[in-house]
Symmetry: C2
Subunit: 138 residues, 2 copies
Amino acid sequence: MSDLLERLRERGWRLTAQRRVVAEVLDGDHVHLTADEVHARAVQRLPEISRATVYNTLGELVSLGEVLEVSTDRRAKRYDPNAHQPHQHLVCAQCGAIRDVHPSGNPLADLPDTERFGFTVSDVEVTYRGTCPNCASA
Amino acid sequence: MSDLLERLRERGWRLTAQRRVVAEVLDGDHVHLTADEVHARAVQRLPEISRATVYNTLGELVSLGEVLEVSTDRRAKRYDPNAHQPHQHLVCAQCGAIRDVHPSGNPLADLPDTERFGFTVSDVEVTYRGTCPNCASA
DNA sequence: ATCCTACAATGGACTTTGTCTAAGTCAAGG
DNA sequence: CCTTGACTTAGACAAAGTCCATTGTAGGAT
């Protein structure tokens, strides 16, 4: 986390209170907040922070490769700070809970050349869907 | 296609001009239109069709399992009429072109029990990203 | 320590995507 | 060919996100 701020400073990022707060809010495991959720939490620490700034900062963090944008949900994009370890997502279809997961094997290798239509394939995104233990017992 | 209309009638669907037009617009291979694109094309055949009807009809087709909703793009949902053959998607990061693809292997099987967090996993959605031949040569 | 200035933040208007509703229309069975 | 409940319509509304002109400030320069 402070590593993150360190790394960003080295890349010429101007360190403002707003950016620090956004970075802090995103810290943790299995964190997948929407922009609005990030904003709501940021406001608790820095009441005057604006929505536009949160969007800008998230966008910058994504461009810098420090945060991933995921669309596990069909509504808002979510922001995943776990950008340095490849992983996929497991989503509860009922409550929307999200966990980072690490499938065995490499799904990229599962796409035969005959199925590539001349594309240069560089990335694959996998979303598992199901029911979480909480929702199953309810 | 006319099979589709047939099947829907059998399920008690009232067959209106609007619904027929939406179904026609969705016909074909590698078709992945957004709701707005479906509306734009539907209007060419039936000028008075409203946006709400297109949304309603697409929603019904999805509920009936005749069309899939996919979010390969981070903006609008896309509608895929190829619902009866399991497949995944390959997307060009530049131009947004989408192809249906059939990876070997079963990605569901690649998620070990230890990575399931007690979830009952029922479905998996895979999106490959890359550059299409057109964009690569440009 | 203070000044400068380019970069960042603000808030409000705007856009896109999608949903809802009240009123009008029509497919299809009787 | 009448009736009726399902379907469609237009437009208001909502949620998520972008844009822009203005104001503020981090951090190097003095």
